[in-house]
Symmetry: C2
Subunit: 265 residues, 2 copies
Amino acid sequence: MEKLYIIKIGGNIINDEEKLRQFLLNISTIKARKIIVHGGGKLVDQLAAKLGVEQQMIDGRRVTNAETLELATMVYAGLISKKIVAVLQSHLANAIGLCGADNNCIKAKKRVNAQYDFGYVGDIVEDGINTKFISYLLEDSIIPVFSSITHNNKGQLYNTNADTLASTLAIAMAEKYEVQLNYCFEKKGVLQNLNDENSVIPSITISEYQDLFKNEIVSKGMIPKLDNAFAAIRKGVKSVIISHADDIINIIGENKKMGTSLTAF
Amino acid sequence: MEKLYIIKIGGNIINDEEKLRQFLLNISTIKARKIIVHGGGKLVDQLAAKLGVEQQMIDGRRVTNAETLELATMVYAGLISKKIVAVLQSHLANAIGLCGADNNCIKAKKRVNAQYDFGYVGDIVEDGINTKFISYLLEDSIIPVFSSITHNNKGQLYNTNADTLASTLAIAMAEKYEVQLNYCFEKKGVLQNLNDENSVIPSITISEYQDLFKNEIVSKGMIPKLDNAFAAIRKGVKSVIISHADDIINIIGENKKMGTSLTAF
């Protein structure tokens, strides 16, 4: 099977124009097939504050009211998506910015939670990925750039967690490609000790993760990312690497061992 | 040659959620191949006012400063584009929201004007349309939905006049399709008398337009639209129809004569 890299970029890169440009320049030099997944960083919060749109959080998760969904659609699927595409084009890396509604690429349904209503938050449905169109783009050497906005095919857009979107995409594409999922963020990997930037755990298997989790070695913020990662691995994704965004070129381009590599065994 | 409809929708429909939904429902019932082109209506002005981003106008044309370009990219290529796509999908009309940077669909260069600097305003370059990809989408029964944001292939996005974008697209696609360009707006057509909604001029040829222009019968606001329209006709577009948005279903779906039809002779 051909290799496919699905690269999720976090808020830290997106918030910093210079970092984003450098990251995209790096990405453009990688010849292998790739998909980029992004959220929107802090820009939605900043816009919401300026416009007086109140933000409600439940257990650290954003409640997406109608106005916030509009802001997220503007920022993620508009500004950030098109900026990324324009910069990639300038490096002769052909790209296309898509959200889940485009060509019905990613179908979701409203999150149902007995306790809370998270508003316009969508969870991707079973078989919700248009792998046929995404494959067509990849075969034509076009980089699909996905913002984390999805839809329900009934006219409603949703805000979807970008980490989950990346892992769901990875699972769906694993039927046709040997998929490596790369979570790029501002730390060098999963840290043994949050205060020591150099305490990167080089690799974690599923059983090791259960130990780390039990012993509370992984930080709370990493748990959703790791849960997503291992869900992907259980469903056919070859490997997941969590690393600093600056290291992506070494990891993919030169196949160096950096960051934290997650595997089944 | 197969028929292709390029349908430009104006601010008046975009500003009104209900009108937009009805319009898109109408569009979805038309089986022929079609492209939608849209700007952003008043939402950019409203956002700019709320955020304190100053808007400068020269001769009735907006100067696009860096902040306004960001707002336009958010609103046109994000919110409005994805809303249109999601609503079309709900009517089982497959669609994809694109700006000029996506898959290098529409290439532009900064407008050069000896007198004024219009900022990030882009004019589409010769051979700037990716007709191959657009044709692929059309052949696959996907409706391309273009927002009026373009790029220069060097990392810069531009704001481009949506009427001009529609006519330039029409000219490029006329090599492969029999193109009808439809400008949909809030009046029933080109009016003989601006104060009489029913004084629609049913048809105008190029030579008749020159007379109307000389005798100042067409209103100032219509001139750019008509100039664009006749430029398209001179370059191979079969016909241009300027009509009320509500009449599109009768014009395309039932081939009724409504609005103002522009032709070469």
